[in-house]
């Protein structure tokens, strides 16, 4: 793998963001608004009733973590969509760039863009609403790591879907975090879910993060084993997503899809 070629993909994304306000704003505006909105909701609910735990931590912290995961996914897909929208596939794939380097470049771009979003979210949540995570150090890093890995997996898999189905399929990708949220137990314990939803939730790494976070907020301790399980499942998803992307790429090369790929829907 060539770091230089991966850096080229990151540089391309940096140039695009630097030159466009419409690309800069989404990095932090929506997540900032989410923090403000959920910060006030948390305050209102906390004032309206007596709770044994901090609502700001439970609700606002959950929104922050979930938004982070969604930003990581969007970081990958947005960097990929830039090639879709500019019909750049021939220049990318008819070059010495390896598929692993291309995906690596998308992931690095996502790290950079999601870090901006995370910094803004933390700033608003901590400064304006006094968010204090009940965990720190390695455990908190572990929570973010699981969500980061799962976001990367979703981003790569989503990009594969668009590569296979065409640019119009991007509308399948945007709602993915919203579709997964009910299963990921972002705001409620896994035990709240009906029986048929629980196995699905256990297959989603974020559910381990949010269960762990709630356990700590309730005065208990997060299970290291559960966090490890979430991490391992997320790694499996990344491997699976890379395999899916590589398979779709092989299909696209076999059928001529890449050569014919345009800014229109490809059937």
């Amino acid at each position: 793998m060539s770091l230089r070629r991966m850096a080229a993909i990151v540089l391309r994304h940096f140039y695009l963001i630097r030159g466009s306000l419409s690309r800069v704003f989404p990095l932090f505006v929506w997540v900032g608004i989410d923090m403000v909105l959920w910060g006030f909701i948390s305050r209102y609910l906390a004032a309206a009733g007596a709770f044994r735990f901090s609502l700001v931590t439970t609700l606002l912290g959950a929104v922050l973590l979930w938004d982070f995961e969604a930003r990581v996914m969007q970081g990958v897909t947005m960097a990929f969509f830039e090639d879709v929208w500019s019909r750049n596939f021939l220049n990318v794939f008819a070059s010495p760039l390896r598929l692993s380097e291309y995906l690596g470049g998308l992931v690095l771009s996502s790290i950079a863009t999601s870090a901006v979003g995370l910094a803004v979210m933390l700033l608003v949540a901590v400064a304006a609403f006094g968010l204090a995570f009940p965990v720190a150090g390695l455990l908190l890093a572990g929570f973010f790591l699981v969500l980061f890995l799962f976001g990367i997996a979703l981003g790569i898999a989503g990009s594969a879907v668009v590569l296979r189905l065409g640019p119009a399929a991007e509308w399948f990708i945007w709602p993915i975090p919203a579709v997964l949220a009910p299963f990921a137990c972002v705001f409620y314990p896994l035990a709240t879910l009906p029986g048929w939803m629980r196995p699905v939730a256990r297959l989603l790494p974020p559910s381990y993060v949010f269960e762990g976070m709630r356990a700590v907020v309730a005065g208990g301790a997060a299970s290291g084993a559960m966090l490890l399980a979430g991490t391992l499942i997320a790694v499996v998803y990344i491997l699976l997503a890379c395999w899916i992307f590589a398979s779709v790429h092989r299909y696209a090369v076999r059928t001529g899809l890449i050569a014919r790929y345009a800014a229109e829907s490809v059937s």
Partner: protein, 267 residues
């Protein structure tokens, strides 16, 4: 009409020990029941410009896409300076480059940004100097910070050609490089490409529907019809060998009555 002079003296010996820059053997590609390319073999030697000619649907772009590695042949093998494209994809693609009207560089990046990103992908040494040289050679200095998408057709073609020679490719694929240019700009572009070929001794595969351009530029032509190589030879002498006044007449015959030529020519 003035007789076009032979581009330059003696053609390289393709049978010499040094492997040809491009060797395609038994290439075949079918889309369902439609055979786009039907078992063609050809070579391009160092310093040779080979014209790939034929009517629409003859298999030219399919052939180019296979050489670029964005379309997998159903059968056959492609080697670039002895490197098998199927097994040494990155190294083989690093030795070539291309320009095609259907693959513009991203319009939302500036001229120099596009060249810098691709220069990193191709691993161009002393990239800054190389970009400056190309901006000067292709009259793009004043467009250095202009977004590629707002350039005129002629300027975009110059940029595509600057990109195509960025990495000093040993094999250059040019798919109708002058298609969108006015006659003066096209002549200028041919001169630049010839200059590059003479300087770098690269092999070139060139497609065009402009027969006078082909006569002016190409050392050898391959006439494709229905996915097969129907005729091959020197574009200046080939028409006479088949009782035609010029290459355009021969082209029209290939397009309308390929069977009559196939019967009289055995490769």
């Amino acid at each position: 009409m003035q007789e076009a002079p032979s581009r330059r003296a003696p053609l390289p010996d393709v049978s010499a020990a040094e492997p040809p820059v491009l060797a395609a053997e038994g290439l075949r590609k079918a889309y369902g029941d439609v055979v786009a390319v039907d078992g063609i073999s050809f070579r391009v030697a160092r310093g040779e410009i080979v014209g790939l000619l034929g009517p629409n649907g003859a298999g030219k772009t399919t052939t180019i896409n296979m050489v670029l590695g964005v379309l997998a042949p159903d059968a056959g093998r492609i080697r670039v300076e002895g490197l098998d494209l199927a097994t040494h994809r990155s190294a083989a693609l690093g030795r070539m480059n291309f320009a095609a009207v259907y693959s513009p560089l991203p319009g939302n990046l500036t001229v120099s940004q596009n060249l810098r990103i691709l220069g990193l992908i191709y691993g161009v040494p002393k990239l800054g100097e190389r970009i400056e040289t190309l901006l000067g050679q292709y009259d793009l200095l004043r467009f250095r910070n202009v977004k590629s998408g707002v350039l005129s057709s002629g300027e975009q073609t110059r940029l595509s050609l600057a990109k195509a020679v960025l990495n000093h490719p040993h094999l250059l694929l040019l798919d109708e490089p002058t298609a969108s240019l006015d006659p003066a700009a096209a002549r200028d572009m041919r001169a630049r490409i010839r200059g590059f070929a003479a300087q770098e001794t690269s092999g070139m595969l060139w497609t065009s529907h402009n027969m006078s351009e082909v006569v002016e530029v190409c050392d050898r032509v391959l006439f494709l019809s229905r996915g097969r190589i129907l005729l091959e030879g020197d574009p200046r002498t080939l028409p006479g060998e088949h009782g035609k006044a010029n290459l355009e007449e021969l082209f029209i015959t290939v397009a309308r009555e390929p069977l009559s030529l196939a019967e009289e020519w055995e490769p």
